[in-house]
Amino acid sequence: MSTAAARTDGWPPAPVFARADCGGLNMRLNGTRVVLRSSGALWLPLTQTLAAGDLHFEKGSSYAARGQMLPPYDTHETLARIEAEAAALNPATIVFLGDSFHDDQAEARMDPEAADRIARLADDRLLIWIAGNHDSDGPRGLPGETMSNVGVENLVFVHEPEPGRRRGQVAGHLHPCARVSAFGRAVRARCFATDGERMILPAFGAFTGGLSVRDQAFDGLFIRPPTAAVIGRNRVHPVGWDQLL
């Protein structure tokens, strides 16, 4: 039941968290000091690096083009969340972990104001666009650099997590979320998934759904049953594997 018991079963120790003032969680990921922010982004204080998973810009208009009129506000909402993080932390670098655009035409559909906001975001910092499966070429007209992966401190940022033991790998792609229950009721929320060595970030975009960390897509990624750092309203809550539904 408890992770303490699990240790005796031969699992490496569970990651250790400490509450950060911002409501997020402090931890060491493969030795690198990181903050799991309640926005769903990951912050590396030492190198002033912010990382955010799947943004899926223009997902709304992608559906609208096919006749399902989802609200057109997702890109601006997602941008507002990034801007809030940028204002709070003033990062030197922002790494987007791929699938930043919902499809190949997304950048073309983006309204000029959104493009301006991205440009302003890049004013005095470096934007790194990791290529994803939805946006393999990266942005065409927006500032920043497109890469397939990038290393920062003891971490390597990629889009799709590779199976097996990959120390320090930080990926997106899977959109992890967790189901937790209490008082006879269950809630489902986005989460970080980590074993202390590597991490999958939640999708950051306003319209991005989630996949339960108990799904088999997460099999074979972690050296021990991962802890879900579940995102509440203004706080991140660590929830052990055994507490997940």
Binding site: V16, A18, A64, G67, P71, Y73, V180, G209, V230, R235
Partner: protein, 830 residues
Amino acid sequence: MSEPLKPSPLPPAFQAWFGARGWQARRHQLEMVDVVRGGQHALLIAPTGGGKTLAGFLPSLIDLTETPRPQNAGPHTLYISPLKALAVDVERNLLAPVREMGLPVTVESRTGDTPVAKRQRQKERPPAILLTTPEQLALFCAWEGARAYFADLSTVIIDEIHAIHGGKRGDLLNLGLARLQSYAPGMRRIGLSATVNDPDMIRRWLAPQPVPNISEDGEVLENLSALVMGDPGAPPVVDVLYSRGDVPWSGWTAAHATAEVYDVIRANRTTLIFVNTRFQAEMAFQQLWEMNDDGLEIALHHGSLAAEQRRKVEAAMARGDLRAVVCTSTLDLGIDWGAVDMVVQLAAPKGSARLIQRIGRANHRMDEPSRALLVPAHRFEVLECRAAQGAVAANDLDGEPERIGAQDILAQHVMGVACGEPFHEDRLFAEIRSCAPYRDLPREDFDRVIDFVSTGGYALRAYDRFRRIVGKDGLWKVRDGHVAQRHRMNIGAIVDIPMISIRVGSAKRGGRKVGEMEESFIEQLAPGDTFRFAGQVWRFEGVEGMNAYVLPSPDPDPRVPSWGGSKFALSTYLAARVRRLIADEDGWRHLPDDMQDWLHIQKQRSIIPSEDEMLVETFRRGSRHYLVCYPFDGRISHGTLCQLLARRLERANKRPLGFTCNDYALAIWATRPLGDLDFDALFEADMLGDDLEAWLDESVMMKRGFRQVAVLSGLIEKRFPGQEKSGRQVTFSTDLIYDVLRKHQPDHLLLRCARADAASGQLDVARLARLLQRIRGRITPVALARVSPFAVPVMLEIGREPVFGAAMEDILEENAQELIAEAMDMEDAA
């Protein structure tokens, strides 16, 4: 009554048919022939067993006999039933007289289950009488060629109209009727209804309304359909079971009375046992089965059992093979079963109209009384059952207030109309205003709906190039066949709660399906948990996609309790009767002894509130301070009230810790004393302003409501070609859409719809407003040294029921703390 010498309106073949059976056409059947053949719309209100269905069809059968249809004519009569099974059953029942009289009339049914080939044939060679459901009518409206198909339509019959008109399904049906009327202006509308409290409301609903509905003198104009009343049947005999043992203090299953119910089954030919929730049905069935030493044929019937299992039970019932069926509202309506001679209502009925409907399921001969037994689950329910008994005797029904048509449904209809044929917005607006639920629809709202259907209705005009319907000079048409096809796949006013199939076996090997359960229940289970379903205890193995795998468990006492008390909230009307019973001290002596003791001790320790007074008790227990009050207003509006009171107490620095409620009372507890509050201010109606708004916007229920609105309006598709979108995916994405829309366009059409739904339905805000009005200046606070007898039932609910609207943050916090305490040393990782 018709004079004896008046010639019968029935043709000779019909008279002979009645005569051959030793029957006589009933008065209301003949009146229906007169009224409808005279060209009027007509509502027939008659008790069950009064030949109501035949009365509805007689005018059409006579028409079709006297004036044979040309070869290529469209349907003459469209019959619409809320239940698929009923449409199919009526087909069978109608075919008998048609065949026996040798009438030249073809009758066919068409439901969602009708094979494609048969549907195609019905399109090419329409039957004279087509029997169908409201969903199929909405689909007809979205057909190209519907106008030509229904050009010969002379009559539409709506069965069980009382069960449809008061909801979104009714809105959609009413809009469909107006569409049919535009195809066939001479079409007569017939409504068939059980007894209702306000016939005029349904007469208005049934008839096309004048447009405009205000005369030049400012007078409100309205049309009422003709009213034909059947003779009342013999009044039912209703008893309340006062158990041999003590009446329980709380609970909702009435399990204490199982042995007595079993005796009732033994003493009657066939008993229908109605319960209010599926879980209760499961439990009652299980308990009856355990004491079934006589091997009586007892079956179980509820909405989440596999369809074929339900059909089996229904068929066995029809054959008269069963002694009892434990059932939920799935059997409130439906096929007549002659053999039923007793109806048991297990736990209080919560409303008198539902009870009367259920009692009507017993004994379908009008001259003999139906018999029913009410089994209260606890003390307040004893009073409630007494109140219901009185209401039935007075044939007094609680009704719903007249509804205003929902705009998500309107959006679906507008899209459907565009899929059928191009429409002019002015003409369609007039057509929609002829529908009673939409008769006051402002043009502005209609225009907003059109914009929503076309582009999503967003202030940010991002989607003008993606329009679903395109308009020029007020004439609108669907963008292309593909969009139309997708819309047709998503028609209907029923949004299914996401359900998971329960299968016996494993994900690898698959397994037999035993039924379906709400995803929200399955989500709480961990592998190894045991629960009761389909009359058996199962061990949960795991979920794979939309399937949950289970194995039989020998565990007699399932680990996971089945949540879910009464699905229905106590009606305002019954609540008023209960308050009157409590206040009437002279009447107490008719109650069982332990009930009398309970009331007398309440009088000593606290007070007995008068009929229009609300009692508020405050007391301390352990380290907590409690406030218990007794609005008698149903658990839904109590739940809303709890939320709002908790916010106020928070602001008053009372540190509320939790709350719970039932149909009669609510309890809130806090760390600080509550006796010194200004109760008039606490219950002031202004809580329905900002507090309500603030709470609503973050409420889980609003999100759930929004999901429904998003699906009904066509924003989210339930299905698209080649792929069945699972309920799970829909739930998730609408939450995200809700959050974004609330922030960026709070006055969006769909948010307005969701709030309107919350106010009228899920949160019963409208009812809460009436409550606050009623108790204003009539609040009687009493400070007690200890808990009062009245407070016990609600206090016993604490911790037993899930806390209504428990915040997600609390749940996460609970787990996080558990985990941190268990396994983690808090240390600064920095």
